[in-house]
Symmetry: C2
Amino acid sequence: LIRQRIGVPIELKRVADIDIQRNRGVTLPDGVLTKDTVSLLHDPDIDIIIELIGGIEPARSFILDAIKNRKHVVTANKALLSEHGHDLFRTAVHAGVDLAFEASVCGSIPIIRAVQEGFSADRIKSFLGIFNGTANYILSRMTSEGAAFEEALRDAQKKGFAEADPTLDIEGIDTLHKLCVLLSLAFGKRVHPRHIYTEGISKITPLDIEFSRELGYKIKLLAICRKSGNQVDARVHPTLIPEQHMLSRVEGTFNAVFVETEDAGPAMFYGRGAGMMPTASAVVADVISLARNITKGISQRIPLFSSEAAILQPIRIRPFKEIISRYYMRFSAVDKPGVLSKISGVLGRNHISIHSVVQKGRQTRGGSVPIFMLTHEAREADMQKALAQLDRLSLLRQKTMVIRIEDALPDA
Amino acid sequence: LIRQRIGVPIELKRVADIDIQRNRGVTLPDGVLTKDTVSLLHDPDIDIIIELIGGIEPARSFILDAIKNRKHVVTANKALLSEHGHDLFRTAVHAGVDLAFEASVCGSIPIIRAVQEGFSADRIKSFLGIFNGTANYILSRMTSEGAAFEEALRDAQKKGFAEADPTLDIEGIDTLHKLCVLLSLAFGKRVHPRHIYTEGISKITPLDIEFSRELGYKIKLLAICRKSGNQVDARVHPTLIPEQHMLSRVEGTFNAVFVETEDAGPAMFYGRGAGMMPTASAVVADVISLARNITKGISQRIPLFSSEAAILQPIRIRPFKEIISRYYMRFSAVDKPGVLSKISGVLGRNHISIHSVVQKGRQTRGGSVPIFMLTHEAREADMQKALAQLDRLSLLRQKTMVIRIEDALPDA
């Protein structure tokens, strides 16, 4: 198949790993499997290096070594790209080699190609992504079965959809890494993950999901990235989105990216974001793409970061406290008169106006009553001030739950 | 923007049209607008020709002339590509130039790139597409408002979503053209539209839509293309698809392609399939792609039809009568005893077994009663025999309405 699609065959020359004894169910010709990564990186017969180690080191040093030896690199390493992409790209430009990374964002969904080529004549205004299959599986289970977070997480771990330590997935860090890679491409600018607000899904309860549904919303862990003047509003957090929107239909371990451009309008890309074969499909597609360049004797046909030069400029991320959003709030209130008046007083003094309130009188453990509220648009800074004041009210038994709402999505 | 993304500017050298007097709201420098297409096609300063005439002639002759003059071509002409793509591609390969046609299928959705590059390491098993925004708008209106076909069509015409002569859109011909282009790419084979069964949406009634909804289905005009052994099951017709499936959520003038591959799994691409700016975005993206080749001094980096050589082999389309499908049927029956027994007798004799029947007793004009039926899987040949026999029954007042069902879609 590969020979037919390129015109020449691709030879798998060496595979380097720490453990070369373990049976992986794959038979390689003698001499292919090795522990000697350095000689592989320096082998003059090798044109393309595929890095599938993950994490920062030793992946970073290996890739830099490969680039300096004028080898093209394919990687699926979003953590590395989001933190050190700028340096890797600069080094690759200097060495005249290519770096391909389709598998780093949403596995088999060809979103990197879409941004670099499909929308090359267009300007991306925003993208919203469900980038993490583990978190989406957990939220889907909580939604379809009313499961608690811990229960849904255990189920995901049993099915192999979540790691023993699920922190990267459930706390939004994996989503953050992908957001950074895509943001750099979409806007041709440099960004570091530490500048982007990130919140995971571990505090979401079945109560939040149930009440959101009653209001016509689903809760999804979203990467949000939107141009706003000369700034970019970029963040990762659980989000209420209208049930009717296409993104709400993305269930289980699936990923999706909803992109809005100036000319092409809204578009969505949906598919398997992870897993052995979807990732392999994307990695080998990148190898084929590089091989097509090599057989033509060229490299760097597409500028890294999608555009020339702009690579060096950092981007202004809007400070999180300055974002404007509608909010979902859940209060755990003591069942006494005057609670609502106290809460609305705090909100009012912080310029947060209430859109709707529901108190169902249902008792939860500890004798507190849940009160649900949707606000009109408010500033994040005001919300944070209000939350600090609410946390000090003795009438509230727990920290107030806040989830941001995205309901001005195009073509819901 | 273009200069930044390629490294060099693109100059619009000439625009040729029959009518160069009409005000199109665009100002061009003196001497750019011309009626002299031939000198444009022969101008040695011109690298890329963009064909936006549509239809077969003179577009075909112009493109062949451009190719023979060693110019790269960008076209959005699906009618031409589906009928003469093979010849155009052969001529281009021989001349060493590229032919780019992202805008020919689903406008701004980069599905051509996804097939040529994103899934280049994979095998496509099937694709199902909502390829025509006009037909989808009409069906969406009929679904959301219970409008009759004629009413929804008039509304689409008033809004500029349908042409004065809407035949190409509503009879599935535009969808067929796009199916042929994508089929050739996906399977690397040659196909002619005349070999593919095509049926439009003009016979769908609000009754069909209402009853489908009660059963959990939506009616969409689908392009269906599925590998089946050494044949391809390819057809265009109105189709009942499960309401929960992602494709069911594609409303209004939007397009979508649902692709299933061996390794990457199911994927969906969604966006604006037509319109001035989405089409322009796709056309200019193709120009940028060709310019990136030209600046690197290469052409034909990606084999036309996605793979080498295979271009010459025709593909075996499964004869329509051999397809297997479940069916939705609506009978207009005289309200007399024994009707159902007669109908089921005809179906039984033709090996069609009934899954469920609903007769609501509601009278329609002319005193006939609608009877709705879903069948189990049956052969198309058997269904056509049964329909011919049913049409002769005096107990049935109108031709029986039949719509095929697709409910074994992956990851609904």
